[in-house]
């Protein structure tokens, strides 16, 4: 009787304790395969995973497939956060020109902004303000109001410009849809910030895409 109880106890102790696996991704609804078998879609927690090394594959249409190695500890939860990489899209037809208002420290001017694969070029209507910002030398590209001493967490997007930080200098632009009848006339006093939302976002997304392709992570 005692020997039987001891045997059961020994068997219970010898049985491997499973762990759990939590898989998350930046994009939601990514299909997760654990050691080749479908486990569900992210965000996902898989319980009763045998302790040890496992292969986790992630797939979603429009994104590159990802494969990760995870070690699950007995009784613990292994966590995995995966950043999916979108498949390369057709490159935009460059150069692209935008009518833009250029922010000065005080005031503004208007002109034409030309985005090419290598640089962003601006020329004001009066020809006084001309600059060339190589994309590879940009420090940051963001949406911003500019150099304002306010610490609001969430500024309304429609008032945010496209901010480009180049070597030694920052530039703020608001792009707008020009009325063909008024083309060539100064726009800084007639165009309202509210009307610049769509084109400014378009400008930001184009420059951001070109700039982010030049970035290298710290790990690399």
């Amino acid at each position: 009787m005692l020997a039987g109880a001891l045997l059961v106890l020994a068997l219970l102790q010898a049985a491997p304790v499973p762990g759990a696996l939590r898989v998350k991704s930046d994009v939601s609804e990514v299909e997760v395969f654990l050691d080749g078998a479908s486990a569900g879609k992210t965000p996902l927690t898989v319980s009763a995973v045998a302790a040890g090394a496992h292969r986790v594959s992630l797939a979603k249409p429009g994104y590159e497939d990802r494969e990760e190695q995870v070690t699950v500890q007995a009784g613990g939860t292994a966590k995995l956060f995966v950043v999916m990489k979108p498949l390369p899209q057709a490159p935009p037809k460059l150069p692209v020109q935008f009518y833009a208002i250029h922010q000065h420290r005080a005031g503004a001017c208007s002109g034409i902004l030309t985005v090419t694969a290598e640089a962003v070029d601006y020329r004001s209507l009066d020809g006084h303000d001309i600059f060339h910002i190589p994309i590879a030398e940009m420090h940051s590209v963001s949406r911003s109001m500019g150099a304002l001493p306010n610490a609001a967490w969430n500024l309304p997007h429609q008032y945010l410009g496209c901010r480009i930080e180049g070597p030694g200098r920052s530039y703020g632009f608001f792009a707008y849809e020009e009325d063909p009848k008024l083309a060539g006339t100064p726009a800084e006093n007639r165009v309202k910030f509210q009307d610049t939302a769509v084109k400014t976002k378009e400008l930001f997304e184009l420059v951001y895409r070109l700039w982010s392709e030049t970035l290298k992570s710290k790990q690399k």
Binding site: V83, H157, L215
Partner: protein, 227 residues
């Protein structure tokens, strides 16, 4: 008078009466026992766990970075808004919040549905909130998780990232039962450029860590409160 011993018939009659009475009691006991067993115990039953609808309100899907540059004669402060491309922040926060709350068995937690049409911004505002806004809620109370921003602070001395959350428990009449602030902080992942390389890998991983930390704090804060 000479007392006579009771006759046999009388004796048997008395025993029979006793036996009949005993069998009656036994029968009554047999009938009543199952009935008694079915009756609720004298101690009052624990009240059912309240159903709490969880509403996650995300004020912004972007990261705002306050970049402070110290100069010789002035300081330059700039708020840079960086949209998190492809990051389903709403789903990420909701999932983490529900996972954290699921461990609290004092209530049944369920995520608000689109059909309930709850306006998180209005509900978070004490002046705007009315009971009519909660008319469509399916549940006893509403837990509003109001994420008001993910912010980075970068200057020469400190590089931090913070997430700020307000948690409010509201009853069906729109009364605020309690409100708690929850936040989490971590170091900013490298420079602004490095954090955005590889489809914003560093930035997104940092935001994920912040959400996990904030939800751990949220779990502890909710546990301290009455629900």
């Amino acid at each position: 008078m000479v007392s006579r011993p009771p006759s046999v018939s009388a004796r048997t009659g008395r025993t029979g009466k006793m036996l009949r009475r005993l069998s009656g009691w036994l029968l009554l006991a047999a009938v009543s026992l199952p009935v008694l067993a079915q009756q609720p115990s004298a101690t009052p039953a624990a009240p059912a766990a309240p159903q709490i609808t969880v509403l996650v309100n995300l004020r912004s899907k972007d990261v705002t970075i306050t970049d402070i540059k110290f100069r010789a004669f002035y300081n330059k402060i700039e708020n840079k808004v960086i949209p998190l491309t492809d990051y389903d922040l709403q789903a990420a926060v909701q999932d983490e919040v529900m996972l954290a709350l699921a461990e609290d068995k004092r209530a049944q937690w369920r995520l608000a549905t689109d059909e309930e049409k709850l306006d998180g911004v209005a509900l978070a505002d004490d002046k705007q909130r009315t009971s009519a806004m909660l008319a469509s809620v399916k549940g006893d109370r509403v837990l509003l998780v109001d994420v008001y921003g993910v912010q980075g602070y970068i200057h020469s001395l400190v590089k931090n990232m913070v997430i700020g959350v307000n948690v409010l428990l509201l009853d069906r009449d729109g009364r605020k039962l309690w409100k708690k602030g929850v936040s989490a902080k971590m170091k900013f992942p490298g420079s602004i450029e490095e954090s955005q390389a590889d489809n914003q890998k560093g930035l997104k991983q940092a935001v994920n860590t912040l959400i996990e930390k904030a939800c751990e704090n949220l779990k502890a804060k909710v546990r301290e409160q009455k629900i």
